[in-house]
């Protein structure tokens, strides 16, 4: 009795393994041509493939190079003519990142959110936001009044909160609801 159960369990396990291999090879076959077929099956490589396939389909197959930062799960993409993949205010890159995050969560490729950057767009944008935030914080201290910032995404707001948390003379707060949620910088009264 017991042995039979064990056998059944083993059988189903082997079957599921085989199915997994099959579905894996299906995806390999589906790869858009011009891609080197790699035998590596780790989650990171699968994500790189996903990013490449998507961007090549959007930008009609330009020369793509993906740099992987394994510790922070950052994928930096470089290539010619990727403006369409970034989109207005980074709209397209956000959509691509969201979809790839969904897929990686479903297939359990990695267990954390991934970040995609195209031609350092994200990095440059973050630096710009930091600069503006520090400028406005100084203004708030100097003029002794609260200052409202532009509405921004949660990701961008976090950058500001993190940047300004080092300033003792101000505090930051978010107000209003998405998509109009914005940061307000308050100067801290010194008399208490």
């Amino acid at each position: 009795m017991k042995d039979k159960k064990m056998d059944d369990a083993l059988d189903s396990f082997v079957k599921s393994l085989e199915e997994e291999q099959k579905s894996g090879s299906l995806i390999e076959n589906k790869k858009i041509k011009g891609e080197q077929v790699e035998q590596k099956c780790s989650g990171l490589d699968r994500i790189v493939d996903l990013i490449k396939n998507t961007l090549e389909a959007i930008c009609i197959g330009e020369d793509l190079r993906v740099e992987v930062d394994e510790n922070n799960l950052k994928f930096a993409v470089y290539g010619d003519d990727l403006s369409m993949a970034i989109g207005k205010n980074g709209k397209n890159i956000e959509a691509i990142e969201y979809l790839i995050n969904l897929i990686s969560a479903k297939k359990k490729l990695v267990n954390k959110n991934i970040l995609i950057d195209i031609k350092d767009y994200r990095q440059k944008k973050a630096e710009k936001i930091k600069k503006t935030a520090i400028k406005l914080a100084k203004k708030a201290i100097k003029e002794g009044r609260k200052i409202k910032m532009q509405p921004m995404s949660a990701f961008d707001r976090k950058i500001i909160h993190d940047t300004l948390s080092g300033f003792a003379k101000i505090r930051t707060k978010s107000k209003n609801e998405e998509p109009f949620r914005r940061i307000i910088i308050y100067p801290v009264q010194e008399n208490n």
Binding site: I32, L50, A57, I58, M84, N92, A95, I96, L99, L102
Partner: protein, 77 residues
């Protein structure tokens, strides 16, 4: 372009073999993609507050804009 939509949707759903996409040209510049998935996968392609559906549309719009066209993605139920 159809391949791109098919590729992404098939990765998202539980029943990839039931994904059907038809491509129709409405006029010279507009393409309509009609997307059909298994009933239990509808929520997966639509997402919370339609976020996944919108992301798919944004990506398809980007791909078609590169080819000088506009695209519409319809999810059939």
């Amino acid at each position: 372009m159809k391949e791109l939509l098919e590729y992404m949707v098939k990765e998202l759903v539980d029943n990839p073999e039931e994904v059907q996409i038809t491509e129709e040209e409405e006029d010279e510049k507009t393409v309509i993609f009609k997307l059909k998935v298994a009933e239990e996968d509808l929520g997966k392609v639509i997402g919370k507050k339609g976020r996944t559906a919108n992301a798919l549309r944004v990506v398809m719009r980007a791909a078609s804009a590169k080819r000088g066209k506009s695209s519409i993605v319809k999810i059939l139920d």
